[in-house]
Symmetry: C3
Subunit: 138 residues, 3 copies
């Protein structure tokens, strides 16, 4: 069995959005009990991660870390047509994940207690982001 | 066909554990000859990687690299309730992989000669880590 | 349905090769309309990424970024038997991706407009790289 759905998420600019509920809803609707759930973001300036879901300071510290690692407006970047956040957004995407695959068990994503599925917006302005969720199994 | 099994690994604190044999055993037992093998770690302070499996100095150099990149006890971190390694462990997890998918071919994971599947423990103390392995194919 | 094919790519040393066309050809030949396409590189010094496919300056800036993050010939590396690029190549592999999974929709990889599938060669010399593509679906 295969189910495939597209979610649209309007981000508010750089930051993270917990999409676990949206993904779990698609898994539940698929009727699949055992298999895999694949989540894919069709952009090069937004990405996905699994991250601690309880304490928002983890995501604030991640922002501090990424801003230091791949700073906006590095004068060495050639690719800056869309602004100081343009190349930094591509680097943040490459260092995180465009796709995640999660085990489906007993009709749900078998995540750990503290794992949430997050969409990361890497541009400073808001964007509409398209996520494709595919569930395969039985 | 789908097979899904859970492995429990007791880590000895920060470091890597080669779990290739455990994963291959599940693939062999599944009877699946062609398809995919998905490996998933259900934690936010432990992760997975494919890495050179022959020379342990690669993993020592990786530890040196990660310790410099995402140091324990960075005074800028807010998230430090569980100790100096708390936020660093989340960052190391995000920078590596919570899930790996490997091709299954002729009833085995079609890894390269030098590729091993490693569980990475990012906390300084030992932990019990849960890994879900799902094999899909025919 | 499952289709599995192996592609061999001769790289020209450190740099990126757009393999989107080769992957799409395998998806089209499989006859699968809805499902997943898995791409896997069986090496520890070469990897995969999804990246902006239009402006080559993105990949030049990425090279600048990776060279600063994981420099060749860091005197702290123990693992240097094959040269100054040996350990740096393993680190670049771990920080990017050995496997990518892409949604298949309407018989094609449902990539975003600006997403290309790139093979990254991390060694300075040319190598023959083996990529396994597996398509599952219906």
């Amino acid at each position: 069995m295969i189910a495939q759905k597209i979610i649209e998420i309007a981000t508010l600019g750089r930051g993270s959005t917990n999409i676990t509920t949206e993904v779990e809803r698609i898994v539940a609707a698929s009727g699949i009990r055992t298999g895999l759930c694949h989540v894919f973001v069709a952009h090069t300036s937004a990405s996905l991660m699994l991250c601690e879901n309880a304490d928002p300071s983890v995501r604030r510290d991640l922002e501090y870390f990424l801003a230091r690692l791949a700073p906006d407006g590095d004068p060495a970047y050639e690719h800056s047509l869309e602004g100081a956040d343009d190349m930094a957004a591509h680097l943040r995407t490459i260092l995180t994940h465009s796709d995640l695959t999660l085990p489906v068990r007993n009709g749900r994503c078998a995540l750990g207690t503290w794992q949430g599925i997050f969409l990361l917006e890497h541009r400073t302005h808001s964007h509409q982001r398209r996520i494709t969720v595919t569930v395969q199994g039985e």
